[in-house]
């Protein structure tokens, strides 16, 4: 089974190619939100380097969210378009899960933080069990302080990663102490290879879908909407 994993969900764009359980190619680029210009050349280059053609891929996997709304749409549309064109199937993989998969075998709680702006984060918590991730808290958008309160009730070491780590890591550490660790630079952002690995598991679990069924996972009820509601309430429901 050949898998092509494509990611434009955050500031980092990435492509990985995997054949069965062997990683063949991986590239990751942090060039800001310029995915509309960089992603397709990266995909093209991946196929050229690996000597694959798009038609030889069985599964196209997208990092489907949460993340930048624009980025998610670019990544998901790219995957849908390529899969549709060659008659392949697709798989959606969650951004936070991909992040946690990037720091495997950690004996504690892995907590990815994605900046959802305005003191809010997209976050979740995962534990490593056996040879895979177990979701301890499902993906959600919430105020950092609220999340710190929840994590405070969890024992053991906590490993932070994600693009919100730099901004919010110190606050989390101050609140929860030395048991909070920060991921090293190569594990801060999501790796496309981790997406490919998770995609393979999903396919084996029967989660491959037709391209038309692939949709972004925005994580609704999010930060800014809550703010919008608060402002509306303050203005007397205008």
């Amino acid at each position: 089974m050949r898998i092509a994993a494509i990611d434009a969900s955050t500031l980092v764009a990435g492509v990985a190619l995997m054949e069965d359980d062997t990683l063949v190619y991986e590239s990751s680029l942090r060039a800001g939100l310029t995915h509309s210009q960089t992603l397709m050349p990266m995909v093209e280059s991946a196929f050229a380097m690996a000597g694959w053609t798009p038609g030889e891929v069985d599964i196209y996997a997208a990092v489907a969210g949460p993340g930048s709304f624009t980025g998610l749409r670019i990544g998901v549309s790219t995957v849908k378009g390529m899969a549709q064109a060659v008659g392949a199937k697709t798989v959606a993989v969650g951004t936070l899960e991909v992040l946690a998969m990037g720091v495997p075998c950690f004996s504690g709680l892995c907590v990815p933080l994605l900046d959802a702006r305005r003191e809010q984060v997209y976050t979740a918590a995962y534990a490593w069990e056996g040879d895979g991730l177990r979701e301890v808290f499902p993906p959600a958008a919430m105020a950092l302080q609220e999340w710190i309160g929840i994590l405070d009730g969890q024992a053991g070491p906590i490993l932070l990663c994600g693009d919100g780590m730099a901004a919010y890591g110190p606050q989390v550490r101050e609140a929860l102490g030395e048991r909070v660790r920060l991921a090293p630079p190569h594990a801060v952002m999501q790796r496309p290879a981790a997406c490919a690995v998770l995609a393979r598991k999903k396919v084996l679990a029967g989660e491959a879908r037709m391209p038309g069924e692939l949709v972004p996972f925005y994580v609704r009820g999010s930060s800014a909407l809550t703010i919008a509601q608060r402002k509306k309430d303050a203005n007397g429901g205008v």
């Binding site: 709304f69 624009t70 702006r117 909407l225 703010i227 919008a228 402002k231 509306k232």
Partner: protein
């Protein structure tokens, strides 16, 4: 801080725009209030020039946003066709105005609940014989100097 200045011509409006463009900084947000033909596009043309962007400015009514590259990127938005604030968020506009570029928002009322609080409101009202009353209101002190500068150098 709130100051009103008088624009007697399109050239005056362009000049105000240029001063605004020159005074922008990373993350600046300028909300333009005023009806059809009030001069919002002319003002934006001036803002782009003041920022050193040499591209032609047209209204993004149907495209929602024009990304204009230059020394600093200018996001020129027109929210006229949006239904509500949620649509603005789902369109990913917050990713732009929360970033390091400069954002000009036409028809901001459509998404008033979610556009940044720290912004400069610019209201264009019709006066006699083609004149426009341009009111600059800084909603954050970082715009005060810009408002003062334009006020001191124009008719009012």
């Amino acid at each position: 801080m709130k100051r009103s200045v008088l624009s007697r011509s399109v050239a005056d409006t362009l000049w105000i725009g240029q001063k605004l463009g020159e005074g922008t900084f990373p993350g600046a947000v300028l909300a333009l209030w005023g009806g059809l033909g009030a001069g919002k596009t002319a003002l934006t043309r001036g803002i782009a020039q003041g920022m050193g962007i040499m591209l032609p400015v047209s209204s993004p009514t149907f495209t929602l946003v024009h990304q204009m590259p230059g020394p600093r990127i200018l996001y020129h938005m027109d929210l006229y066709r949006l239904q509500d604030a949620e649509e603005a968020l789902m369109a990913g506009l917050a990713e732009m105005w929360d970033g390091d570029g400069v954002t000009v928002i036409e028809w901001p009322a459509r998404a008033q609940e979610v556009i940044p609080d720290a912004r400069l409101d610019i209201t264009l009202e019709f006066g006699a014989e083609g004149e426009r009353l341009v009111t600059l209101e800084s909603r954050s002190s970082e715009y005060d100097r810009l408002v003062e500068d334009i006020y001191e150098n124009s008719s009012h």
